[in-house]
């Protein structure tokens, strides 16, 4: 057979450009592929722009942002991969909420809408969601949305101390941020008057606006290239293909009801999370009935955020490769009682929502472990420990002492990930959050703090045939003879360690204490006296399978590296270490 046999009859000369899209089914099928690919590139470009221009280290290091393209019904058809799982479903829903207040028919070119309402956006006041219509010939053809975590919204700052949303900062309901191209200066003025960092917040919000503009421009270019007047059929195709792929993947999960529970330390009293997962051919319903009532402190997870991490956990196991969009997410439904810790209602405080929210992927794993035995990792450290440091008195606005620096810096602490089927858990790595480390040198350059230690914590990974990832120990003092403070708002799993699975042991619980003194017992703001040091020990991940089933070679390697101590090997693995030489 030659290279050209089997090809349709050749034609000669130029063909009018319009014919390319009407050349029949095959080219249409290929164009759909190309356009889907292009949409993903457009949202990724949006997300990268935010990442580069955002001011908060939470966005920069942690990727606390998202971007997506929606059809005119508010269905999300593409979401950027860059970003954090907290925005998986929150973003998918956010645009629908806007359309209730601002129907598409009322939208004009140049309009931009905004909110940071935790219940209509992405779960706390720090996240601003910005929505813009893409218009062709004066009419909307699609919607673009983006969100990122801004540095400050007033109120009590990033702590769990507020007793209601009213104390947590400024709330912007669904509003028009730009009206036919004219920026709403009144709104901006009110907003900026209510933050401690008006310059940075303005920069972040304008960056959301401009990334949507860029996304709209790319989308319209694509529509021109492929002679489209709307994206309806393309959206239908994407949504249907994704939903079909999810339904197909769900066939691997046996139908039935699966229950689990998890206890967390909570702020001042324990939080019990209860869940039942009902799997049918058509959907997976995740019901949090029976979960504790909302806390009086800001660790509650609004339903949108609860839904985000629940779906994330489910999707990791069921269909990790299927992209996030309306179609793929439509097979999951999350149900919770209003007023509970996973569905707090106005005016419950929610700033540190991740304390509860980021535990929910493990709750999903807890149900899936019964449906898919042997295929699910053990529990992880879960929500990251945010380490907000300041000079003593800073929160009250007091001046630092003589020769003392004024500072307000943030670092983060990661624990261990649970052991995985066939593999040990990852040590000192965030899960399910996408957050990354903040370098010690950066924090020390911005403050008088001195980190004396940041290293793996031996024996902290839950023992098992596969070992949980190690937690770490961080020791922090000051180079100045002055006290400083740390907020313990997000330190959980101090009393409830990540549990093992299938005979694996629990990882070690977290500890926060002073070098000189007792452990912290609550989530309040603690003072580290002059000359003293803060010591935090992050939880290790749970183990998987009985420790005695662990291969001796692996225990020996752990001993040699010091991931497991000699005592730990004897105690946890019944393994007698070889005699020490020298």
């Amino acid at each position: 057979m030659t290279a050209t046999s089997g090809l349709p009859a050749p034609s000669r000369g130029p063909v009018p450009s319009g014919e390319s899209t009407t050349a029949g089914a095959p080219i249409d099928a290929i164009h759909r592929q190309v356009m889907w690919n292009r949409l993903v590139a457009v949202v990724e470009e949006q997300a990268q722009t935010i990442l580069r221009t955002a001011f908060g280290s939470v966005v920069r290091e942690a990727g606390d942002l998202s971007a997506g393209i929606y059809d005119l019904e508010g269905r999300m058809i593409a979401q950027a991969v860059t970003g954090t799982p907290g925005h998986v479903n929150t973003m998918a829903r956010a645009v629908e909420h806007f359309l209730v207040r601002f129907p598409v028919a009322t939208m004009r070119p140049g309009d931009v809408f905004v909110t940071n309402d935790p219940w209509l956006g992405t779960g706390h006041l720090f996240d601003f969601v910005v929505v813009s219509p893409a218009c062709a010939d004066g009419r909307p053809v699609a919607l673009l949305a983006s969100t990122c975590h801004v540095i400050d919204v007033g109120g009590r700052g990033f702590s769990a101390e507020a007793k209601s949303i009213h104390e947590e900062g400024v709330l912007i309901p669904h509003m028009k941020l730009r009206d036919g191209g004219a920026l709403n200066d009144d709104l901006m003025t009110i907003l900026l008057a209510n933050t401690r960092n008006p310059v940075e917040v303005r920069g972040d919000i304008l960056s959301l606006v401009s990334c949507n503009d860029t996304g709209a421009e790319r989308l319209l270019e694509m529509m021109a290239e492929f002679d489209l007047t709307g994206i309806g059929p393309l959206a239908d195709y994407i949504v249907e293909s994704s939903r079909d792929a999810m339904l197909k993947a769900m066939q691997a999960v046996p139908n039935g009801r699966y229950r689990t529970e998890m206890e967390l330390d909570g702020y001042d009293e324990p939080v019990f999370i209860k869940a039942e997962m009902a799997v049918s051919d058509e959907e997976i319903v995740f019901d949090y009935g029976g979960t504790s009532r909302a806390s009086a402190y800001g660790i509650n997870s609004p339903l949108c955020y609860t839904e985000a991490y629940t779906c994330f956990g489910l999707k990791c196991i069921v269909a990790p490769a299927v992209p996030n969009n309306h179609g793929s997410l439509s097979v999951f439904r999350t149900v919770a009682e209003p007023g509970s810790a996973v569905h707090p209602v106005h005016p419950s405080p929610v700033t540190a929502r991740h304390v509860i929210g980021q535990m929910l992927a493990d709750v999903a794993f807890g149900c899936l472990a019964q449906a898919l035995p042997g295929k699910i990792p053990a529990e992880s450290a879960g929500s990251i420990w945010v380490l907000p440091f300041a000079n003593a008195g800073a929160n009250a606005g007091d001046a630092p002492g003589e020769n003392a620096s004024r500072f307000n810096v943030m670092n983060v602490g990661m624990g261990g990930i649970g052991a995985r089927p066939g593999k040990d858990g990852l040590s000192v790595t965030a899960f399910p959050s996408g957050v990354g480390a903040i370098p010690v040198e950066v924090t020390e350059c911005e403050s008088p703090l001195v980190f004396w230690r940041k290293e793996f914590l031996p024996d902290s990974g839950g023992a098992g045939a596969f070992r949980g990832g190690l937690g770490q120990i961080i020791e922090v003092g000051s180079a100045e003879e002055h006290p400083f403070t740390v907020s313990a708002a997000t330190f959980d799993r101090m009393r409830n360690p990540p549990r093992g699975r299938d005979g694996g042991q629990a990882g070690r619980s977290g500890i926060a204490r002073l070098e000189s003194g007792p452990r912290f017992s609550d989530k309040g703001v603690h003072t580290v006296p002059a000359g003293d040091r803060l010591i935090v020990e992050l939880p290790g991940g749970g183990g998987l399978g009985a420790p005695r089933q662990r291969e001796a070679a692996l225990v020996r390697a752990d001993l040699e590296a010091g991931y497991v101590t000699r005592d730990g090997a004897r105690r946890d693995y019944d393994f007698e270490p070889p005699p020490e030489d020298g």
Partner: protein, 698 residues
């Protein structure tokens, strides 16, 4: 006695082939031989002998030899470097293993982080601590260093990387440690983080230092063997190494900082593209280097490729940021995506057609090679669409089997998508072009550039086939395809300047800008760079200086590189640099942030010999249409149809003869596809210049 002008030689060792180029009085000669991984110099000597023979020159005629190699990269990927120990501040030995502490693939619960180059048992801690402001909080315990040295000796450590907290600004403790190690461990390589990578951020600095130590014994051994071999063969000319930053350096300097040699091949390609841009007078060029496995895309403004200092080697997952080892070294800024001739096409569960990043490579290769490869690749698609001649591929050395290509495409793509005939191939080529177009668009936008204003310079085996369609997608109106596209990197080596870059982190708050202090630092850096260049440059060579400061808004995460004026900075530069930063910021992001201060992150000084003067290419008037040698049926993506196309052998074309698309211009190592809306001529330097007559994106 040397001939005049002297013969110039370059060798590029790649994963599969070793390319050698000779420029001499009788013109250019090239040779391609298989790489000899165990003793890479063997392949170099073999290829050198071939080109010398072909050109009629003898080794003594050589005036210069420039070399680039993937040896360092391969050692890092295959973990075949030296037994390396790491010595750090007490309490911080696990920084290397913790890495960024995040998952680079969110939904993959089975993902693994890159293994550190130094296992925990070889990571040692020493009592010492210096604060960010340079105060010694805990004195260095040299006795402990001696104990560590003894334990390194006992286990046969070949290299030691030293990385202490804040050493980028306060290197005294690292220097003291080196003295002890030099005395205690003679013959063992010692690398200091304050020399290899004097920049803030401990993980990246430690990672770079360890990577340097890890490859150094291997590279310095290889370079010295190669040098001796060259001398034995009578080649006593200066010998330079190509670096990832686009300059060349001496053997001594390369052996000290071998980590700077990674990515030298792609850097050579970018240097070639920059030279072509200067020859053709292109203010804005987009370089496309498409090979068997990846495509490299690089922006070239005013004949100079953009540079950066962030790079990742040995990625576990191709194309996934964060899955490799970060190294902070001078590199030419480019995106590399898994889009090449060998890229494998497949259809996923959502019936999405995906092409790459996995590649069939050269072994087993695309299905049409008939060497055991069964999966459908881009090369298979190009063959089915008639863009490749099955009998002339790679100069006729590899016969291509169209039946196997069609079968693989029908099975892997067509069946799943309900496409038959040539349509699966159309889809694969469209998708790989789309992937390259998306990467190019994003790369340009991230830099505030308008892609459609660029001229594309396309080389590498695959680029000339795809360049036309890609240009259409990007709204680019002109494509230039230089001669010798198949050995582009090695040609680029001959064009690269002798250069050295010195970088220092120095956070400066611009409200307290002190020009005198900055000038003192910059002068010191210039002296260091000049010394490194003078050691290798011909005496009396004219040196060019370029100085860059990385600036950011206080509190923001991403830096913009701003060039400094020549001459000392004045106090007024505090204001002027801020203004320049804001201009650039506006160009990239479309706005500026009023009322916010800027700060510097790091300062770099590069000293380099001047680039060779570029001849001026002329595009001749079209005199006549070219005469086709044959006709072939080819699918044209812009038409959406198969058309009968003329085929022109490149060596038969004369300047001024016009080729009207759709057409193929064929040569031994590659073919250029001229799409329907384009026409092509050879310019005065013999480059193919292809113009879009219709203009605009489609």
């Amino acid at each position: 006695m040397r001939v005049d002008p002297p013969v110039r030689l370059a060798a590029d060792i790649g994963g599969t082939f070793t390319d050698v180029v000779l420029d001499g009085p009788n013109g250019r000669h090239t040779a391609k031989v298989l790489t000899t991984p165990r003793t890479p110099e063997t392949g170099v000597f073999e290829a050198l002998a071939l080109v010398l023979d072909r050109s009629g020159a003898v080794p003594g005629d050589a005036g210069v030899f420039v070399h680039g190699t993937t040896l360092a990269t391969n050692a890092l990927i295959e973990r075949k470097g030296a037994r390396t120990a790491f010595l750090t501040t007490r309490g911080f030995r696990d920084i290397l293993e913790m890495g960024l502490e995040k998952r680079f693939e969110q939904y993959d619960i089975f993902m693994d982080k890159p293994e550190p180059l130094v296992p925990r048992t070889l990571r040692h801690e020493v009592a010492e601590r210096v604060s960010a402001r340079g105060r010694v909080l805990l004195p260095l315990d040299l006795g402990e260093v001696r104990t560590i040295a003894a334990s390194c000796r006992a286990v046969g450590v070949e290299a030691v990387a030293v990385g202490l907290l804040h050493a980028w600004a306060h290197p005294a403790h690292e220097q003291a440690i080196r003295e002890v190690l030099a005395a205690e461990l003679p013959g063992v390589t010692v690398c200091l983080s304050s020399e290899v990578c004097p920049e803030m951020r401990e993980f990246e600095r430690f990672s770079t230092t360890c990577a340097n130590a890890y490859v150094r014994p291997l590279i310095s051994g290889y370079l010295h063997r190669l040098q001796e071999g060259l001398v034995e063969r009578g080649m006593t000319c200066p010998f330079y190494l190509m670096m990832s930053g686009g300059g060349v350096t001496t053997v001594e300097s390369a052996a000290r900082f071998p980590i700077r040699l990674v990515e030298s091949g792609p850097a050579g390609g970018a240097i070639l593209a920059a030279h072509v841009a200067r020859e053709c007078g292109l203010a804005e060029a987009l370089s496309l280097d498409m090979g068997g496995t990846t495509a490299k895309i690089c922006l070239i403004e005013n004949g100079t490729p953009e540079r950066s200092r962030t790079f990742e080697v040995a990625r576990r997952y191709r194309d996934l940021k964060g899955s490799g080892l970060p190294v902070r070294i001078p590199v030419i800024e480019m995106v590399e995506i898994g889009a090449g001739g060998g890229s494998i096409a497949r259809v996923d569960d959502m019936n999405r057609l995906l092409v790459g990043p996995a590649s069939a490579g050269s072994e087993p290769g695309p299905a049409c090679y008939g060497r055991g490869g069964a999966q459908a690749t881009v090369t298979d698609a190009n063959l089915v669409l008639g863009k490749l001649d099955p009998d002339r591929f790679a100069g006729g050395r590899i016969g291509l089997d169209s039946a196997r290509a069609e079968e693989a495409l029908a099975r892997d793509v067509g069946g799943r998508l309900g496409l038959d005939g040539h349509w699966p191939a159309v889809g694969v080529v469209e998708m790989v072009d789309e992937n390259m177009a998306n990467a190019s668009r994003v790369h340009a936008i991230e830099r505030g550039r308008v892609i459609g204003r660029h001229t594309m310079v396309a080389f590498g085996g695959g680029a000339p086939l795809h360049a036309g369609r890609l240009a259409q997608k990007l709204g680019i109106e002109r494509v230039v395809i230089p001669r010798g596209a198949g050995v582009g990197s090695a040609i680029g080596f001959l064009l690269a300047p002798i250069a050295f870059e010195v970088v220092r982190s120095r956070p400066v708050d611009f409200r307290e800008f002190d020009a005198e202090a900055i000038n003192a630092m910059l002068d010191e850096m210039r002296a260091e760079a000049t010394e490194a260049v003078r050691a290798g440059a011909p005496s009396g060579a004219d040196l060019a200086l370029s100085r860059i400061v990385e600036l950011r808004y206080a509190g923001q995460g991403h830096d913009l590189r701003i060039a400094l004026d020549d001459g000392p900075l004045t106090q007024d530069h505090g204001r002027r640099l801020k203004a320049r930063f804001e201009d650039r910021y506006r160009a990239v992001y479309g706005l500026t942030i009023d009322g916010l201060d800027i700060q510097s992150v790091s300062w770099s000084v590069t000293v380099a010999t001047r680039a060779p003067p570029a001849g001026r290419a002329k595009v001749p008037e079209v005199r006549s249409p070219a005469r086709a040698a044959s006709m072939r049926d080819i699918y044209d993506g812009a038409f959406g149809a198969v058309v009968s196309c003329p085929v022109y052998p490149r060596f038969e074309l004369a300047p001024g003869e016009e080729v009207t698309g759709p057409a193929i211009i064929a040569e031994d190592e590659t073919s250029t596809f001229v799409p329907a809306d384009f026409s092509a001529v050879l310019n005065s330097l013999g480059y193919i210049v292809m113009d879009n007559r219709a203009g605009g994106a489609r």
